[in-house]
């Protein structure tokens, strides 16, 4: 762990780099809101954002946002509308990248944000899909962020809220899912990616200060590792400056939430 930045700051910078300039991004809750802001102010000034409550923007507000519905996110919007209208764009395949918060993910990128244990009497009740399942099924590709723990990165999720690659590369096509599927899992220890055409997640980079042994120990399956495994690039000074400007009290990036 670096003195220069927190684990969350590294995750935000890594998530921001998933956004390419000019893309239409379906921004979820929490850290991705910050990631879009950082991307917009650094390498992706022309990336546009869609928010499921009914907003489109072409620039991130220069303000702290606790939720996508905070008033500064409406000022300067390109479109304030109803949810079904932004979902329409995603259903047409217009969304290049979506972000989904995760509680539990498996080797094929299936996400569970609903129930741990039997749904009729769950051991843990998680909040549910929100727009997560819609993003997972309809966007061209998506990324999820979560803490890297064996109870979160599991061999097989017990409930698929937001489908990844099901049980293998061909699963999405067989079930008629229109979108492309997961592209990356950004965790507190590294970044996992998926092979072209889908399939099983592999470790692509490890965050500075962590070891392969540590990542393997915190993963609930026998993790495949990229041939060219390297370190996750550290956040640049510019990225850190934007993260701290958009999150001045460390609401997202210095507190454990």
């Amino acid at each position: 762990m670096s003195e220069r930045y927190t684990a969350q700051e590294l995750m935000v910078a890594a998530a921001a780099r998933e956004i390419k300039d000019g893309e239409l991004v379906f921004v979820g809750m929490r850290l991705p809101i910050l990631a879009y802001g950082v991307a917009h102010h650094t390498h992706a000034p022309r990336a546009r954002a869609l928010y499921e409550l009914g907003l489109m923007r072409e620039q991130a507000p220069d303000a702290f946002l606790g939720t996508m519905g905070d008033p500064p996110n409406v000022v300067g919007a390109l479109w304030a509308t109803r949810m079904s209208n932004v979902m329409a764009l995603m259903a047409q395949g217009e969304v290049d990248l979506g972000f989904i918060g995760g509680a539990e993910v498996d080797r094929f990128g299936n996400l569970n944000t609903s129930y741990i244990g039997d749904p009729s009497r769950p051991r843990t009740k998680l909040p549910g899909s929100g727009g997560g399942a819609d993003i997972a099924i309809l966007s061209r590709r998506w990324v999820t962020l979560m803490r890297h723990e064996p109870r979160r990165l599991v061999e097989r999720v017990s409930y698929v809220t937001s489908p990844g690659y099901g049980d293998g590369p061909d699963w999405r096509r067989r079930h008629g899912l229109p979108g492309g599927g997961p592209a990356a899992i950004v965790t507190t220890l590294g970044v996992l990616r998926f092979p072209e055409g889908g399939g099983e997640a592999y470790l692509a980079t490890i965050h500075p200060g962590h070891s392969l042994e540590e990542v393997r120990g915190a993963t609930g399956w026998d993790l495949t590792v990229a041939d060219d495994l390297g370190p996750t690039p550290e956040p640049t000074d510019e990225e850190l400056a934007w993260i701290r400007r958009l999150d001045p009290d460390g609401f997202w990036t210095r507190a454990d939430r």
């Binding site: 606790g66 939720t67 109803r82 809220t161």
Partner: protein, 298 residues
């Protein structure tokens, strides 16, 4: 200004939301949540409600903890900036304070189910939810010929909070609308809570901005500050600290009951509630007026 529909929150809830009703709330998602109406439901000890919404940022959790709820038909129940809904967890995991039934949706599916009811359609077909286990825990979703059929969801009442309305319930709302229009059109009737109660000329000057037909609106409640701690464009910022405090205190059932006594049961109405809130810190001061539009006709 008088109108047969204008009444207090206590009257509106008492007349229009009986035990066992299905109620849509939080239809704008994070902003404009009608917390004042939810708290009045708790004070009047309403029971066996079905709550309908896309996500619920705090309010559904509070109603579940107070024992008002039998069923949830929603995409997400929790606390957006803080995480899990602790009362929701206690109810689903341990049946405390009572057992509730959960019917899972995604946000898009909630919208489609409300549109299906609004259009009086038997179902709406969609590709969303293909491959999701939500299909297994919601009997109102069915896969036929490679598409998901979303059956209609008709609330008995939709409760919304808007920036302004006239006494007949011609409501103007601006900012993101979420599923507000389809919830209102689908519902048997609507309770409009408003920040400002205005003359009909004001809202009729801009009929494009009117949300629903006034024939659906059964009650108009002038309730300034009724969305706290959620924001309302042009009026109130989000009170992040209040969400954090609720998350911290509701972690235990005892902490939740103390919170409930302090903020809901121990206050008679919204006016008294707001006296405990640092309103000046939350009030939006900067004005950003839209350009007027010209409806000239000759």
């Amino acid at each position: 200004m008088t109108g047969g529909k204008v009444m207090t929150m206590a009257e509106a809830i008492s007349r229009l939301v009986p035990d066992g009703a299905s109620v849509a709330m939080g239809t704008c998602l994070e902003p404009a949540i009608p917390f004042a109406a939810g708290h009045e439901l708790i004070r009047q000890r309403r029971r066996d409600l079905t709550l309908i919404g896309p996500i619920s940022d705090g309010l559904f959790d509070q109603l579940i903890g107070a024992g008002c709820v039998a069923r949830i038909r929603a995409a997400w129940v929790g606390n957006v900036s803080e995480g899990l809904g602790h009362c929701y967890r206690r109810a689903t995991e341990r049946g405390e304070p009572r057992q509730i039934e959960v019917c899972d949706y995604s946000n898009f599916a909630v919208s489609l189910a409300l549109w299906a009811a609004a259009w009086n359609a038997p179902y709406l077909p969609t590709r969303t939810l293909l491959g999701s286990d939500i299909l297994k825990t919601n009997p109102d979703l069915e896969v036929v010929d490679g598409a998901v059929r979303v059956r209609p969801l008709r609330p008995d009442v939709a409760i919304v909070h808007v920036q302004r309305s006239d006494p007949e319930g011609r409501a103007h709302l601006w900012g993101p609308l979420g599923v507000t229009e389809e919830a209102g059109l689908a519902a048997r009737r609507i309770i409009v809570c408003c920040e400002e109660l205005v003359e009909p000329e004001v809202v009729l000057s801009d009929p494009n901005r009117i949300l629903f037909p006034d024939t659906k609106v059964a009650a108009v409640v002038h309730e300034p500050g009724g969305t706290h701690p959620s924001p309302l464009q042009g009026h109130w910022r989000r009170d992040h600290g209040a969400y954090r405090e609720y998350a911290r205190r509701s972690r235990t059932a005892e902490g939740y009951r103390e919170w409930l006594e302090e903020w809901v049961l121990g206050v008679p109405d919204r006016r008294a509630y707001l006296e405990r809130v640092d309103r000046e810190r939350l009030r939006v001061r900067e004005r950003r007026l839209a350009a007027p539009v010209d409806y000239g006709d000759e």
